[in-house]
């Protein structure tokens, strides 16, 4: 793990309040869960039907029918519950997930999120992405600020296929924390050693201090 990723994960962790329900998207967001103390009163939701995921199983204790939405073997914490997908998405769409931490391909300053499809790329599918983005009470995006091709992921408007409009409340990147406020992002904080000007240079939308 790079230093910046570690800082990103810890900053995302700080968004989590006790006794709440949190859904962590596939990839970097999933790893936020690894930082949670085992006895933290936080209930990780997995859209395939778990509220209260625990850590990965001990070697030899994995159960093929106890997986998360990334199809990884997982465990249950004390006070967990299992249920079917209809109830799971009632929970998600109905606003009972307090916080979703999701990955992104692009986020716009108006809160639009694109995280399911790259034009011309392989079709991966939608899964629970649209429901989570549209339904969670609070949506925090956790992503590197700049894509591998050098383009900024924080833009004035998304150009990739939309996941949900106006859905994102906060973006945590390796450069800092930015809230979409309409025509611009507001800079909530900057990562260690990052200047506002540097962040602005790498962002496709205005950033207000």
């Amino acid at each position: 793990m790079s230093g910046s990723e570690d800082a990103m994960l810890r900053r995302a962790l700080a968004e989590i309040r006790p006794w709440t329900v949190v859904n962590l998207g596939i990839g970097l967001p999933t790893r936020v869960g690894d930082l949670l103390p085992a006895d933290a009163p936080v209930w990780l939701q997995s859209e395939n039907g778990i509220l209260g995921m625990g850590p990965f199983p001990l070697d030899g204790e994995e159960d093929a029918q106890l997986i998360n939405a990334g199809k990884q073997t997982v465990t249950l914490r004390e006070g967990a519950s299992t249920f079917d997908s209809a109830l799971s998405f009632a929970m998600i769409r109905g606003g009972h997930v307090d916080l979703a931490i999701l990955g992104a391909l692009q986020v716009a300053s108006n809160g639009d999120l694109a995280n399911w499809s790259v034009p011309g790329g392989r079709v991966m599918g939608i899964g629970g992405a649209m429901d989570l983005a549209a339904g969670a009470k609070r949506v925090v995006v956790l992503t590197r600020h700049v894509a591998k091709d050098g383009s900024s992921k924080l833009l004035g408007g998304v150009t990739y296929p939309l996941t949900a409009a106006g859905a994102v409340h906060r973006v945590i990147t390796d450069l800092g924390v930015f809230d979409p406020i309409g025509a611009a992002f507001r800079c909530v904080e900057l990562a260690s050693g990052v200047t506002l000007d540097a962040a602005r240079e790498q962002t496709g939308a205005p950033i207000h201090p």
Partner: protein, 233 residues
């Protein structure tokens, strides 16, 4: 033990499955698959199927074998991911694929089973999913009109069943099974364990027998794990 809705073999479980049928199959990737029923459909001879499944198989296994065998004309799913057979079918156009957000997917099944012909959801507004659909603002929020998705057959994996078809699931085994069973004209439960009537307390039934038409006992499964992640001891 009373026979009830139990059938003796896969062929009996799939009796009446015809060409062009809409078939829902529960499971999340290769997890919690009704493996005997999936294999049985390959032998049953029905073609031109519409497959309703979250992933339509993975790693060339499970429902991917239906794609390989060419018995599927149309897939309604939420995720393609690393299902190479579905990727190939998509790119060659050999099957038509309808991608649905997972919450809408399961709610459409639940609606079909619950006698709700259509509903409005905020999910997918402004996205490709909205194409061709009615958009309506309700209580200040733009929503899509989505329709019930009824099935001819539902093939679902369950942990325990009694002869009436009362069912319990194990851990994340339920996923789409209850909604699919509710949505289907014929729901077949592939059960790891069979117990007599009364073997499941009334308060412990996950899916009442009213939603299950046939019960097939299949005690062992391959249960391939796609991403085995463990902590060292």
């Amino acid at each position: 033990m009373s026979r009830g809705k139990r059938v003796d073999d896969v062929a009996s479980a799939l009796e009446g499955l015809e060409d062009g049928a809409v078939v829902g199959v529960s499971g999340f990737g290769l997890s919690s698959n009704p493996e005997a029923l999936i294999a049985g459909v390959l032998d049953a001879g029905a073609r031109d199927l519409t497959l309703v499944s979250n992933n339509a198989g993975a790693m060339g296994l499970g429902l991917a074998t239906w794609l390989q065998a060419g018995i599927v004309a149309r897939v309604i799913c939420t995720y393609v991911g690393s299902n190479h057979d579905l990727q190939r079918a998509l790119s060659t156009g050999s099957v038509s694929v309808e991608l649905v957000p997972q919450g809408t997917f399961v709610e459409r099944l639940r609606a079909a089973g619950a006698g709700i012909p259509a509903f409005y959801t905020p999910t997918g507004v402004g996205t490709v999913v909205a194409e061709g659909k009615e958009v309506r603002t309700i209580a200040g929020r733009a929503c899509l009109l989505e329709h019930a998705l009824p099935l001819d057959f539902a093939l679902v994996r369950v942990h325990r069943a009694d002869p009436f078809g009362n069912v319990r699931f194990w851990r994340t085994q339920a996923n789409f099974a209850p909604a699919m069973a509710m949505a289907a004209r014929v729901a077949v439960a592939e059960a790891e364990q069979i117990v007599p009537l009364g073997g499941i307390d009334a308060d412990d039934v996950h899916l009442p027998g009213a939603f299950v038409q046939r019960v097939l006992h299949v005690p062992t499964h391959a249960d391939v794990i796609e991403h085995r992640i463990v902590r060292p001891r």
